[in-house]
């Protein structure tokens, strides 16, 4: 009897403890949630508050057998001093609880980006629901417009933008900077990174630039092509297309099949320098000049064209980033890690010193194939 009583007591106590650890009050039915797919952040008209627009999925319209006559999403907008405030605002006008656990995209307007991202991102970094793998993009003009663009094969503008971002295809290569990456960059001193910069044209989203972010602020932009070379220097470029236009008649385009970048920081005789060795393996994907057959000399010549072209572009991009004071290569971090003591003085005034920091770029281009044909077709 005593034993039974003891077991009973233990069971009661155990269940009280366990149920208070995690109880049914934290349960939420899916059909009581408004699943937010994407969030855009603009400044409100008064210029102080934020205007937050959320794209909320309408699951019944996403069903494969639904007629598709209605939109599969609704956009809800609210103004507030911060994300938290606006999300509360949503709940006072929406029939469901907002749920950011499946948010797949965060868009900032250029204006917000220039004034600083951290007040907004702070909410997401603290939230237990949000994912760190959410990509962040910048919108030229109004960010909310991107959430209202036309849909193509997907049923939601967010999915369309995500599709564009994910197309690491033949000619569009964009670094997909996520919330987590951005956080890492923000806490790294003097570091700069790039985010995709979208514009809205004819109600269609288009990715045509890259925003350069230093700290939590946007300080400028690069063209897509320039961004390729920025990625190449950082070793984030794997494959893609490079079109070398020598003059109007002479154009050769390459399919890059492999890219290896080695960065070597040196400290010799009290002088710092960095060697960036880039090994490119390419195939010809199109050429408008040249001889009948690709002899060794002809190949050498074409390799030289690629080498010169890439070297020029890289130097150009490096100059631009130096002018912007954006250390996209991450030299500051490298110096701090490799020579913490020796570089102390240099790093104190890094913005100035970066401009004069010697960067030696060495490109080695190698042609592995000429495509499926052996000679030029006339």
């Amino acid at each position: 009897m005593k034993k039974v009583l003891r077991i009973l007591c233990a069971a009661v106590l155990l269940s009280i403890f366990l149920f208070s650890f995690g109880g049914c009050w934290s349960a939420d039915e899916i059909n009581t949630k408004a699943i937010i797919m994407g969030i855009s952040v603009d400044f409100a008209e008064d210029g102080e508050k934020y205007l937050v627009t959320a794209q909320i999925a309408v699951p019944s319209q996403l069903k494969s057998d639904s007629a598709g006559s209605e939109k599969a999403y609704i956009n809800a907008a609210a103004e507030g001093a911060g994300i938290q405030a606006t999300l509360h605002e949503f709940e006072s006008s929406l029939s469901r609880k907002i749920y950011t656990g499946h948010t797949e995209l965060i868009i900032f307007s250029e204006e917000v980006a220039k004034s600083g991202l951290s007040p907004v991102l702070d909410y997401f970094y603290r939230s237990s629901e949000a994912r760190f793998s959410v990509p962040i993009i910048i919108a030229e003009g109004k960010a909310a417009d991107l959430l209202d663009t036309k849909v193509d094969l997907e049923k939601m503008p967010v999915s369309r933008i995500l599709g564009i971002l994910a197309n690491h295809g033949s000619d569009v290569i964009m670094s997909q900077t996520t919330m987590g990456d951005l956080l890492r960059e923000m806490v790294t001193k003097n570091s700069a990174t790039t985010l995709a910069l979208f514009s809205t044209a004819d109600e269609r989203p288009a990715m045509n630039k890259a925003a350069v972010i230093k700290g939590d602020k946007m300080i400028g932009s690069l063209s897509i092509e320039q961004q390729h070379y920025e990625l190449l220097v950082n070793g984030e470029y794997e494959e893609g297309i490079i079109v070398c236009k020598i003059n109007d008649d002479k154009v050769v385009s390459f399919r890059i099949t492999k890219c290896v970048t080695e960065q070597d920081l040196k400290y010799e005789n009290g002088e710092f320098s960095v060697d960036i060795d880039i090994y490119i393996t390419a195939q010809i994907s199109g050429v408008t000049f040249g001889g009948e057959e690709y002899t060794t000399e002809a190949r050498k010549e074409i390799e030289q064209i690629l080498h010169d072209f890439v070297t020029d572009r890289i130097m150009e991009v490096l100059q631009i980033t130096k002018d912007m004071n954006a250390d996209t290569v991450g030299l500051c971090e490298m110096l701090y890690r490799k020579y913490p003591r020796e570089s102390k003085e240099l790093l104190e005034n890094w913005d100035e010193n970066y401009k004069n920091f010697p960067i030696n770029v060495m490109v080695s281009a190698k042609l592995t194939a000429t495509g499926a044909v052996q000679e030029r077709i006339k």
Partner: protein, 483 residues
């Protein structure tokens, strides 16, 4: 016993009190004395009685029946009569003779319905003990096979036969089983399930600690590993002891097909066990507590299916699970033709209509259906799992993933604390025995199963010679393909 046949006959008749099937055949002997043969009509074979007992006695010729002996009490006489034997009383003897004339109707040997195999023997036990022991003897042609019979149940007098292989099974195990059988003091043993409940180690847990099978080849395999078996008269299910958890995932088929295929099937069975145990609970926990873990597209499907359904996910799942339990129970008990009607009503009408009417969401029906199908993969463990599933569902609906994990851990602790006839229930997983894992999650080739399971403490530990791996270098010399 009395000196005259008449008195003895009266004494036996007094026990049976004019029962309709009790037959007393009185006859006169050539020497003028009287005799009587008593038997139960229907249990004894009248042909044997007529041709080999009555005819020879009346004609003063020797009786030619295989099994015969002398009896000295009326009580014993009544017992053998009930077994279908014939007792003969003769004037001038204060003992009786009995002759084995068992000839009651029994079912033919057929393929067991609960354990069907594609490859491997198809014969199964019947309700007759003698047939079953014969089937077992045919598998194990060794004089070492012991079959020890005893009677259980003061009213049913059921014969129970304990079988083991003398040179393999541990004597301690046999003594323990004997001791537990001796402890049974009950009036009725109507099947092996009755015996099982009186001898098992863990009477209140949902998991069984005594195995059962309908197949003589399975029993033979178990005996050869050092286990013992109990065949109960009147049931086609024989019991095997000790029974370990891993045996739930072993099928006789495994030893008939190739090791790789068998290993794959075993892994499937183990995965199915977890699916059928935890899938409904996991579903509820994910949907209600951790939707972040569901891929976005899947979340849309679930969300769109649950649009407009009236009940919350836990209740929906519980209701569907309950419906499934009812359907299953109905399907088992019903005669075959009606069973089909049940599946049509159950699957088509209820499932389809419930979804279309928007009462339950399609994902829940899919989850329950999947869970149901997976539960049929390991039939022996499915009864226990059916209970545990409800417990997990309750934990999953109240505490989410934390609750499911808690439930699974509790089940694991329960399993690890159980024993079956002195062997840890989870052996060889816990306590871990690496050498014996070869026949647990996977099935290694026969020639690698060199030792019997050590936990059973077999007297003869070695199963086969050291080098049994087939290694036939080269082909046949006269073909010219020798290597």
């Amino acid at each position: 016993m009395f000196k005259t046949a008449e008195e003895n006959l009266n004494a036996v008749s007094a026990i049976f009190k004019g029962d309709n099937d009790f037959v007393a055949r009185e006859f006169e002997l050539p020497n003028g004395g009287k005799g009587a043969a008593v038997f139960i009509d229907g249990l004894a074979s009248s042909e044997v009685i007529n041709d080999f007992i009555l005819t020879p006695i009346m004609n003063d010729r020797p009786i030619s029946v295989g099994e015969a002996d002398r009896l000295d009490t009326i009580k014993k006489a009544s017992e053998v009569i009930l077994d279908g034997d014939t007792v003969v009383f003769l004037d001038g003897f204060d003992t009786a003779a009995y002759f084995s004339t068992k000839g009651f109707p029994s079912r033919n040997i057929s393929e067991p319905q609960t354990e069907t195999v594609l490859r491997g023997p198809r014969e199964g036990f019947t309700e007759s003990l003698r047939t079953n022991t014969a089937l077992l003897r045919r598998k194990l042609k060794t004089p070492d096979l012991r079959m020890e019979a005893s009677r259980l149940g003061s009213r049913t007098n059921t014969t129970v036969c304990l079988c083991w292989i003398d040179s393999i099974a541990s004597p301690d195990l046999i003594n323990e089983v004997r001791r537990r059988l001796d402890n049974i003091d009950v009036d009725a043993i109507l099947g092996s399930g009755y015996v099982e409940e009186f001898i098992e180690d863990e009477p209140v847990t949902p998991f069984q600690t005594v195995g059962y099978t309908e197949k003589p080849d399975v029993i033979a395999g178990k005996l050869l590993e050092g286990r013992c078996a109990l065949i109960v008269d009147g049931t086609p299910f024989a019991l095997t002891m000790p029974f370990l958890f891993v045996e739930n995932f072993q099928s006789p088929e495994d030893y008939a097909i190739r090791p790789l295929a068998a290993s794959f099937l075993r892994i499937i069975r183990i995965i199915s066990f977890f699916i059928t145990l935890a899938l409904p609970a996991l579903y509820v926990a994910l949907v209600d507590f951790h939707p972040e873990l569901i891929p976005t597209t899947l979340l849309y499907s679930i969300a769109s299916a649950s649009e407009g359904t009236p009940f919350p996910a836990p209740l929906e799942t519980a209701v569907m699970l309950f419906v499934f339990e009812i359907l299953r129970e109905a399907g088992i008990r019903l005669p075959k033709p009606t069973g089909q009607a049940i599946s049509i009503v159950g699957a088509l009408v209820m499932g389809q209509a419930a979804i279309q009417a928007g009462i339950v969401g399609a994902p829940v029906v899919i989850i329950i259906a999947f869970c149901a199908v997976a539960s049929f993969v390991s039939p022996t463990v499915s009864d226990s799992v059916n209970l545990m599933r409800w417990l997990l569902l309750l934990l999953g609906s109240t505490m989410g993933g934390f609750g499911v994990l808690l439930g699974l851990l509790s089940i694991y602790i329960l399993l690890a604390s159980m024993q079956s006839f002195g062997v840890m229930y989870l052996h060889p997983i816990a306590p871990l025995s690496l050498q014996e894992l070869g026949d647990v999650g996977i099935r290694v080739p026969m020639w690698m199963l060199k030792r019997r399971p050590s936990a059973l403490h077999p007297q003869d530990k070695i199963r086969q010679a050291n080098k049994t791996k087939p290694k036939f270098n080269g082909g046949i010399p006269s073909y010219g393909n020798e290597q």
